[in-house]
């Protein structure tokens, strides 16, 4: 853990107990409350946005497979096996991505589009 610090001579921020960040990633013009909001928004994006995205992937994946002739039970099992790997991927990405706005657009927007797609597809199937 905390290997990234290995070339620091001033180990100051290593132990500063705050966000594990070097002291100046945020420009001084940005108020702390803004930084806090950013953190909360990113956590919400990862957990809730991630869930919406996974829901979209699961429902769209199932209906698409059924449309391709796969048995519903088999389609559902396939997507349930993949769903949490997808969740893990987008969860990690939500913290790694540079742009928080893009994270929200992809996760919430993508999740909604996929869910609507699944709903539309189901109307043809059932």
């Amino acid at each position: 853990m905390f290997q990234h610090q290995h070339n620091h001579t001033a180990g100051n921020e290593v132990r500063n107990g705050s966000l594990e960040l070097p002291a100046s990633p945020t420009p001084p013009s940005i108020r702390p409350s803004h930084a806090a909001r950013q953190v909360v928004s990113r956590i919400a994006a990862a957990l809730l946005g991630g869930y919406a995205f996974v829901w979209g992937v699961a429902t769209f994946g199932i209906t698409a497979l059924v449309a391709l002739g796969v048995d519903y039970g088999e389609a559902r099992t396939t997507l349930m096996l993949l769903a949490f790997l997808v969740y893990l991927g987008v969860f990690v990405w939500a913290f790694a991505a540079a742009s928080l706005a893009r994270v929200w657009v992809v996760l919430a927007g993508g999740g909604t589009s996929l869910t609507v797609g699944a709903w539309a597809l189901q109307r043809f199937l059932a």
Binding site: F2, E20, Y72, L81, A118
Partner: protein
Amino acid sequence: MFPTFRLSMTWLHTWFGLVLGYVLMVCFFFGSLSVFDREIDRWAVPETRFAPQTMPSYDKLLAPIFAAIEPEEEELVAARARVGGPLPALKPVMNYGAYTTHRDPVLSLFAEYAITNNPNDPDDHVHGHVTIDPRSGKLLPHDQLKIGSEFFYPMHYSLHLTWMNLGYWVVATAALVMLAALVSGVVMHRKIFRELFTFRPKKHAQRSTLDLHNLTGVVALPFHFIFALSGLTIFAGIYLPVSETMLQPLAQKHAMAEAQAKGLAFKPSGQAAPLASVDAMVLEAKRRWAARGMPGEVGFLQVNHVGDANSYVSIFRAGSDRVTLVGQAVHFDGPTGRVIREEPPTTLATGINEFLTGLHLQHFEHWLLRWFYVLGGLMGCVCIATGFIFFVEKRKKQHARAGVGGSRWVDALAVTTVTGMVLAALAMLVANRLLPADVAHRGDWERAAFWGAWLVTLAHAFWRTAPVLQARLAPAWREQCWAVAGLAVLAVLLNWATTGDHLVKTIGSGYWPVAGLDLALLASAALALVAARKLRLRERGLGPMAARDAANVDASPEVAGA
């Protein structure tokens, strides 16, 4: 928000690991105990200390017992609330079921009764449960709690927080975070292979803690990943209830088509009909399993639409001899006893799912492998606990200088979830042996002992971590280690005093369910004593490690660069 990928992963690992680590600790510890849940049941319910039994005769033994089962009173109360008035006097039986494994001396039976006057739910029903001694058919006392399979086991996936399935969702979040912690942990460490062989216990606390955190995390990485993932897929129906909500039309269409294709009646016909010999059906099912090259015993037996012309009997094979959890169900027509359908071999996705489920639930009969599960689970506990300790060790001096209490509160919660949790489980076992055999609501008292003891350890941990404020070691760890040792030995002695089953007797007769738990308790006591002694040396500034601790982290760039 983060300048580099590695920093983002470090942030994720530290803060999500800290917050959900407390939950993960519960999942890993009680999950490890669940590997031997049936054995803990034997310890806690002494009158069931006899050899595991196969499914007894339905026709001779089970049929009259099923007929005498009554719906649970609390379920009836809940059903009255759903219906909004009194229930019909007659609650027709829907289904009967009996479930056993190769480790169960006792047999659990359940029955489902239709609630016919719920306007909102035509399929509303309530359950009745009994546990019997399958040798005689004698009922076991109803309020006797099977501590292993009914308390420790559900604890690891539901936390016993039943309100709106809250516990399941908290555990799911923790499992997702576990997966993310493994990924981010690997990203943070480039020297992953070296971690496998690095443990320097003689170094100062922060260094050796981190070594142990990395070692246990990396050595058991596949185990941790597979268990967190399969835990999520096992309850996928709860976490992503697509078939019950949005995709219900599609799911329903499929269910009806499937029932029709299988020839299994979806609903009762309304015509009464007697049931043919179930024992004959069991013989036929066993013959068919043997013919497929997988002879076996019955694990689960279900009579559907009891007493109806549409009734059918489903017989599932016990999965004692393989990892994959497969049932090889054979379904029989109830009134005639002829075979309706034999489940075909599974398809690819279903097969993978059954393998993952079986891997997690380990119904197989392989004792060495079972012990590896316990070891893997306990390594998870060590990994999480050392994560907490590292968090505290890394910050406590800084926090002490700044006069903030952060690391003290983290340490207090860590004590509560590490030694405190062990103490709660031990208190439950001790209460189980101290309570009179015939006390009413025995199980509730045992539960109260568990939660009460845990609360006491919480209070103690918050009180006795005060020295962390001066960057010193919290005495809470040492004191709770002493308590663990004391309670563990007490539990073994109480088992001896109240049942006469001391270790010489249980080992001599090879009765491992009880001998195993007694030995595990003694081993825990020994470990706790060693830990308490080492902690005392450190607190007093004695011993080889304490000197290095004192010599200190600040001067050590290597630690900062860990």
